[in-house]
Symmetry: C2
Subunit: 437 residues, 2 copies
């Protein structure tokens, strides 16, 4: 089964935004055993959208389309698709009600606003769980065409809620019944090429098995896939490779599945009823921002000190002036005192501290750009552990990597309290030692 | 002059990497007054690459192609393009010498390595300033096809060194000398549909003029474009619309060009030698993170308090317990005390405070999800100004909107110190009043 992905928007064709929807959809299709053969982007021009759709239904088995469903007059997807189907656009009543409830008493619903709840008459509707414009599916020359909004989170929401299941149904209706067993391994702390080198050969003698890598900076996803007409056989072969892969990725494998490190750490803090605080310099608040992404995080996250200047490290966290004078702010003694000061002042179980040279300026021969010191202060048994990063990336990358390492240290510290001896050992390896990448 | 961009690679069609080459090329073409009409991605499959190229030369005036020029056996671009031109691939001697010098004494140059220095015989060669595989240009059915490697920095290097000049030459040879005048207006504080409604009709009677909207949450870019064979005429018509558009977007227009609000605020703080601190609750560190994105921000950003809990609002910022008991944390009195406390304790010119209900839980009838209070404490003349947001979005959107409003308040406060009376009045309108969206 071959798919075509069509993304629509002048902003794409002017290079104003990078098209992440195509790769998102291609990756989801790949997971569903559907091969994306063509990905096309075109402008918000009626005749181009129509040409692109005509071509897509002529050379593909299913078409996924994103963009052009918004409220403005250059959002034309509904009009073009309706034209190709020989129907008129009409208001989707459920979406209209949702829109009016959303705006109730706040702003007036204008005719322009209503544009975004139109669909081709008779289309199969895919309600939008996070936004206003619904997705929909029509059939053009016997080929299913599924349209979704261009806003990535709305596209993701509609895909998760409706389209994934629908595509499976379409694939199986074609008698295309190969089953897939797959697992996503989430790896943080090593680069993509080191990870792919570590995994070499794992799938070589396993029938129907493939391995794929996806860099989602700062983590890498390793995807193990086994295909077989028999689901149980696929599952068994996948399971057979699991422990080998885990050993190869140790200790940088932190989890499997869809939960990333940010969500994992907050979930585990909440489960264990632990309280945490942050002391940030070069990350400037990024760790706090990550820790508060999840609803309910206030039960675990108490607060943080962003101590960008020397004086603030002293005032907010009690770092001694002598320490700063002797070792500088980017030093093990400084982050130790930052973490200890935060743990005490915020009265928390864990406090994490970060200070580094994010660059691009400010590097020295002893402390080049990318040098970051981290410290985690925890309960008595743990004490204060520190870690030095040394990875020369862009300012944004250095800061993101540092913030994720701070989370990874909290994650490992939680594991240190578990009864499982092996898990404690893996956590120990994460908490100790210098990291070069 | 219409361009087509073709990017080739299985990794694109499996969604393993995001295609940044297409947007890079589209944006460079846009700057050269060449409209990208189609962007296509396909797999490393000989017949698909050939089909894509045949289609591209049939519907475009120039084709830019990236990928498939590497040394491995699935790099097939040279073979396919040679086939379409009816020539054989041959080694580019200059590139071969470069490759051998590069590998001298380190690794042996294998036949596989030599694959990447092949070109279609007779092609125009574009040497690669940063890598091994040269770019090249051939003519297929009278249409120029320019091929470059898929590695972004090699593509950029070849584009800068050769392709930019070549495209200008091609465009002018066509007598296609339409010039573009354009300006980007950056708007924050109103939704895309309200902004497009406000701009309605502006370009209607202006020859060659178009207006485009791009939502880059939480801001919207309004792009005004005028095309004419005479650059001065295009510029003049653009300038003629400028003041009308500015009036329509007032006071939510904060700037023009490529600089976004985050960079603008930090630049202005640095220029005015002002110092700032943050007091964050629901944004959890996001404002601090934004303020520290720019290198050199430590001269203006002193630090911040992330005060997620009641106790921390009191301990770190001196918010009175009675205030919290009487009004709650999401209230004007609370953010007033947060901002005043931060300004005093951090010893800064400006302190900004945020407290809100980010959701999805925690809303009440009086304080529904999306209710956010902001306060800015500034020099004596300004005092403390507060603002209430009330916009029901997702947790992430509410937080991002709140963080940007905090920056916008700082931005407006800086404008309040300027001599320009009109600019002060606009700033005043931003600083005062409730914001509904």
């Amino acid at each position: 089964m071959h798919a075509e992905i069509l993304t629509i928007g002048d902003e794409l064709c002017r290079g104003e935004i990078v098209d992440t929807n195509s790769s998102y959809l291609a990756s989801r299709l790949w997971d569903l055993d559907i091969t994306t053969r063509w990905m096309t982007s075109c402008n918000d021009r009626e005749s181009d959208i129509a040409d692109a759709l005509r071509l897509a239904v002529a050379r593909s088995d299913v078409v996924l389309c994103s963009g052009g469903l918004g409220p403005t007059e250059d959002d034309l997807t509904v009009d073009v698709v309706s034209g190709l189907c020989g129907v008129a656009p009409s208001i989707d009543e459920a979406a209209r009600i949702h829109l009016e409830q959303r705006f109730a008493g706040r702003i007036e619903v204008s005719p322009l606003q209503l544009r975004q709840v139109r669909v081709p008459t008779g289309a199969r509707i895919y309600s939008n769980p996070v936004g206003l414009a619904p997705g929909f599916e029509v059939t053009v020359r016997d080929i299913p065409v599924i349209c979704m909004p261009g806003v990535p989170r709305e596209l993701h929401g509609i895909f998760d809620k409706h389209v994934e299941r629908r595509l499976t149904e379409l694939r199986e209706a074609r008698g295309d019944v190969e089953r897939i067993a797959r697992r996503i391994y989430r790896v943080f702390g090593r680069g993509e090429s080191q990870i792919s080198a570590a995994c070499r050969g794992i799938v070589d003698d396993v029938a129907g098995a493939t391995i794929h890598y996806q860099l989602k900076f700062p983590e890498t996803l390793v995807k193990l896939v086994v295909r077989d007409r028999d689901q149980a056989a696929a599952n068994a072969r996948l399971q057979g490779m699991d422990s080998i892969l885990r050993a190869r990725l140790d200790p940088y494998l932190y989890g499997t599945g869809d939960e990333n490190l940010v969500d994992r750490v907050m979930r585990r803090l909440l489960e264990a009823q632990l309280r945490v605080a942050t002391a940030e310099s070069c990350t400037g608040g990024m760790i706090g921002e990550l820790l508060t992404r999840m609803p309910g995080s206030s039960k675990a996250f108490v607060g943080g000190a962003i101590a960008y200047s020397y004086d603030e490290k002293t005032r907010q966290l009690g770092v001694r002036k002598e320490t700063l004078d002797a070792y500088g702010a980017v030093s093990e003694p400084c982050v130790r005192e930052m973490a200890a000061g935060a743990a005490e002042r915020f009265g928390v179980d864990y406090a994490v501290a970060v200070s580094g040279v994010a660059g691009p300026d400010g590097g020295t021969p002893e402390k080049p750009v990318g040098t970051v010191w981290l410290a985690l202060a925890g309960p008595e048994a743990l004490g204060i552990v520190t870690k030095k990063l040394s990875w020369p990336g862009s300012r944004d990358q250095v800061r993101t990597l540092a913030a994720w390492w701070a989370l990874r240290m909290i994650d490992a510290a939680i594991s240190m309290q578990l009864p499982d001896h092996e898990e404690r050992q893996r956590a120990q390896r994460i908490l100790v030692g210098e990291v070069k990448r």
